[in-house]
């Protein structure tokens, strides 16, 4: 493999890994804030216990998310330095804003939240977790704004003197329609992930606990809360996904054509549910199951009269514009990751409806089928998130900065132009080091998450301690310590 291939593998591995952890952080922070708010508002200690229980899982996960996030920032410079040089004037700004506006915020308030349970007045402590929730979501906004420049460069102009893209409007950059849609879609995915996480774990416990009181006051309400939020999130995903899809048909027709394995330009093509073939060779594609009307609707919101460009024709267009080269993404990956992203949504949707039905009118289901269903459902939103990002990033290949059909024609960059001038061996060192480290940490992460889930809410968290304001000469035991 060349340094380019190795760099791509490293980016793929580290980013997919990071984004297993991050959606749970982004989604669970507001859910924790909601749980804690219910406790503070009603005084119902069940919600205190739930906050503590899910809070521990949140923190185990948060640590690894923060740790792997540092790599994300460093590797743009380490492995993609030519890309950094080309877009730094534009791309650096949202990253720096993320640090200044969001990351400082969430990191400081998470410390206050962890250690402040008895140090701060209840309402102030509650405000801290809301600050964390706002911070992590603001983080996502800036990062996705940066990513959206790579998908649909706006607010910038190519400067032939410096040979790079330069920012002309921060407002246009941050209100990129691609970015707004992707942000809403990503947050929807994160909320779905966290809500499913809460619902699945609570449902599992509802079935397995031997304490009837806990099942009624703790796990049933948490299951219902998780399921309701998951359903709302799933609905928002369909809506925002549709908006994003319509944008992509215009902005990156090649991505959408390859998502459909649509090889030749057609009018009102059918939506493909299943195709077989090697997919990287258009000639071998056999469409097995197809549905009419869907694809024109996805693309333009009408059922007929829509002409969609095929991969082969786009390839010819791009060759004419950008010179010889292969401008087709990996069809197999884009086709299947697109279907995986959408298809896996069925699990949390069905699970939420099932669990809501089984818990209706105060019922407490004790069937093991439900708890098994919960365990199967739990990882699905995580996989769907990964699939979605694999689709959107792989679908953009071979571009690292896609060209904007209505923007500055000189702003575009291929991965080959963006990669650092390293020998393959050096990047291999990095890829192997990080992959081994990540693998070891994944084992510990999973083991800790599982251990804390199976242990359930702990005894020492059953009653909230009274808040005591700090006094300088007090030698009381700390309420929380590492």
């Amino acid at each position: 493999m060349t340094a380019l291939d190795v760099s791509r593998w490293q980016f793929g591995i580290t980013t997919v890994y990071h984004f297993i952890l991050v959606p749970l952080t982004i989604g669970l922070a507001p859910l924790l804030a909601l749980m804690q708010t219910i406790w503070v508002a009603t005084g119902n200690t069940a919600w205190y216990r739930l906050t503590k229980f899910f809070g521990k899982l949140f923190l185990i996960n948060f640590a690894l998310g923060v740790a792997t996030g540092i790599v994300q920032e460093f590797q743009f410079g380490m492995n993609w330095s030519e890309y950094s040089r080309f877009v730094g004037d534009v791309f650096g700004a949202p990253l720096a804003m993320e640090g200044l506006v969001a990351f400082f915020f969430e990191s400081t308030f998470i410390g206050l939240w962890i250690f402040g349970w008895t140090r701060l007045p209840r309402v102030v402590h509650l405000a801290c977790i809301w600050m964390v929730a706002i911070g992590v979501n603001a983080s996502a906004f800036f990062i996705i704004s940066a990513n959206s420049f790579m998908q649909h460069p706006v607010g910038a102009q190519y400067n032939p003197q410096t040979g790079r893209a330069e920012l002309t409007s921060i407002w246009e950059l941050l209100t990129n329609n691609t970015g707004i849609a992707a942000f809403a879609h990503t947050i929807g995915g994160a909320i779905l992930t966290a809500a499913t996480f809460v619902a699945a774990i609570a449902a599992w416990w509802m079935v397995h606990t031997t304490e009837d009181d806990d099942a009624r006051t703790l796990y049933r309400p948490a299951t219902i809360m998780g399921c309701l939020i998951a359903l709302v999130a799933a609905a928002s995903l369909m809506f925002t996904g549709d908006v994003q899809g319509k944008l992509m048909f215009v902005q990156q027709p090649m991505k959408m054509a390859s998502a459909e394995s649509l090889c030749h330009t057609e009018t009102d093509p059918n939506f493909s549910v299943l195709t077989v073939g090697t997919h990287n060779n258009c000639d071998s594609v056999t469409r097995v199951i197809e549905v009419p009307y869907v694809l024109p609707f996805l693309a333009e919101g009408k059922f007929d009269g829509v002409r969609l460009d095929g991969v082969q024709d786009l390839q010819k267009q791009y060759e004419a514009t950008y010179g010889p080269g292969d401008y087709r993404p990996n069809l197999f990956v884009t086709y299947w990751s697109f279907r995986m992203m959408i298809g896996l949504l069925a699990f949390p949707g069905l699970f939420a409806l099932t669990a809501l039905w089984l818990t209706r009118g105060g019922r407490i289901p004790k069937t093991r089928r439900l708890s098994r269903f919960a365990l199967v459902t739990l990882p699905m939103p995580f996989l769907a998130n990964s699939a979605g990002w694999v689709f959107t990033e792989m679908g953009r290949q071979p571009w690292v900065v896609a060209h904007n059909p209505t923007g500055d024609p000189d702003i575009h960059l291929t991965i080959g132009q963006g990669v650092s001038h390293h020998g393959a061996a050096m990047v291999w060192t990095s890829l192997i080091t990080l992959t081994l480290l990540y693998a070891a940490l994944a084992v510990v992460w999973f083991w800790l998450m599982r251990r804390y889930t199976i242990e359930g809410p702990q005894h020492h968290d059953s009653e909230p301690a009274a808040p005591t304001p700090p006094s300088d000469d007090e030698i009381a035991p700390l309420s929380f310590a590492y």
Binding site: L59, F74, A481
Partner: protein, 348 residues
């Protein structure tokens, strides 16, 4: 003053913030193990008391490097691209160390088991020692100059980072952070831990002063200019002041302020030596990256200036508030029993 000069200073300020704050975090991590070996009380409680001095704040402190990196990306993309790809392997080691350290600090108390804590302690020590040394090596190497070619690419050879001056830089920052950390622990603790911290600070005082002084004077002599004399002077005075304050027990707060000033002055000295370069080229001075040829466009710098001007006071405000909330000194006696789970769950 132009925006490029302003952003050079801003970048220096962000790195100063990082090294002052994360400096004592590194110091705490570097020394934590030794607090468990002083022979008094329960060693585990001593270690935990030390770790908890940074407990609520270390995560916020670490963000300074993320922001410094991102600010470099935004304001001096040429420097970011050249430096991060050029210092590839040192940065990889720093990344490795920082990842391991974050997880070890957060996960250490999650499982109540001596073997588990052993591993976490090793990870915290490695994760603190490595970056404490390597940041110094990296900065000294930059000040010394890197083989930047006409295309602003660096083909690094071992001698560029493994040379007497760079290694001395590494020893100086490691020593400085250990000393800074020990003084920080005296400020944040009472009882036996406080006494131990003070003893460590006294033991470190002389060698650290010597190595920082040699590094400072070498830096000034080889790469300094008229203005950097001021930074060197402040560093020396502050270091001597810190040593006096530690020896005479005249206020832990003042001693901490002094070690913090040393860190500020040393980082200012290094940045002062660089100016107006960002990365001096050892191949041809004309190929050096400067604040002029590596910076962003005026518009981007203007946007970033507004962002920084609006946000930095707020950041400093709530970070200070967080330090105020956790201002209380802690002692080993206050450390509650571990609430971590056992390694194996009870059979249900």
């Amino acid at each position: 003053m132009g925006l490029q000069q302003l952003w050079f200073i801003t970048l220096a300020v962000l790195f100063i913030g990082f090294f002052v704050l994360e400096g004592f975090d590194f110091g705490v991590g570097m020394l934590m193990e030794f607090f468990g070996r002083t022979g008094q009380g329960d060693p585990e409680k001593h270690r935990r008391a030390v770790l908890n001095t940074i407990g609520p704040v270390w995560d916020g402190n670490e963000v300074w490097i993320i922001t410094a990196g991102a600010a470099m990306f935004a304001a001096f993309p040429g420097m970011y691209a050249t430096l991060f790809s050029g210092l590839y392997l040192p940065l990889l080691v720093i990344l490795f160390a920082m990842i391991v350290r974050v997880c070890a600090i957060e996960w250490r108390g999650k499982i109540d088991d001596p073997q588990w804590r052993r591993w976490a302690d090793i990870a915290i020590a490695v994760g603190s020692w490595l970056p404490a040394v390597l940041w110094g090596v990296a900065f000294a190497s930059i000040v010394r100059g890197l083989p930047v070619d006409a295309d602003h690419q660096i083909d690094l050879s071992f001698g560029d980072v493994l040379n007497p001056y760079s290694l001395l830089g590494g020893i100086a920052t490691a020593g400085l952070f250990a000393f800074h950390g020990a003084v920080f622990i005296t400020l944040k603790t009472t009882g036996a831990v406080h006494g131990d911290a003070r003893r460590f600070a006294i033991r470190l005082a002389l060698p650290v002063t010597a190595v920082v002084a040699i590094f400072g004077i070498w830096t000034q002599a080889a790469y300094g200019n008229d203005v950097t004399w001021i930074a060197l002077g402040i560093a020396v005075v502050a270091q001597l002041g810190a040593v006096m304050l530690v020896l005479t027990r005249h206020g832990d707060g003042w001693a901490f302020l002094s070690t913090a000033s040393v860190v500020v002055a040393v980082v200012a000295l290094l940045f002062g030596c660089l100016y107006p370069n960002l990365i001096p080229s050892t191949l041809d001075p004309a190929w050096s990256l400067t604040i002029h040829n590596a910076s962003s466009s005026p518009y981007t710098l203007k946007v970033m200036t507004w962002t920084a001007a609006l946000c930095t006071p707020i950041v400093i405000g709530y970070q200070s508030w967080s330090y105020w909330i956790f201002r209380q000194r802690i002692s080993a006696e206050q450390i509650p029993p571990s609430i971590g789970l056992t390694r194996k769950g009870a059979r249900r």
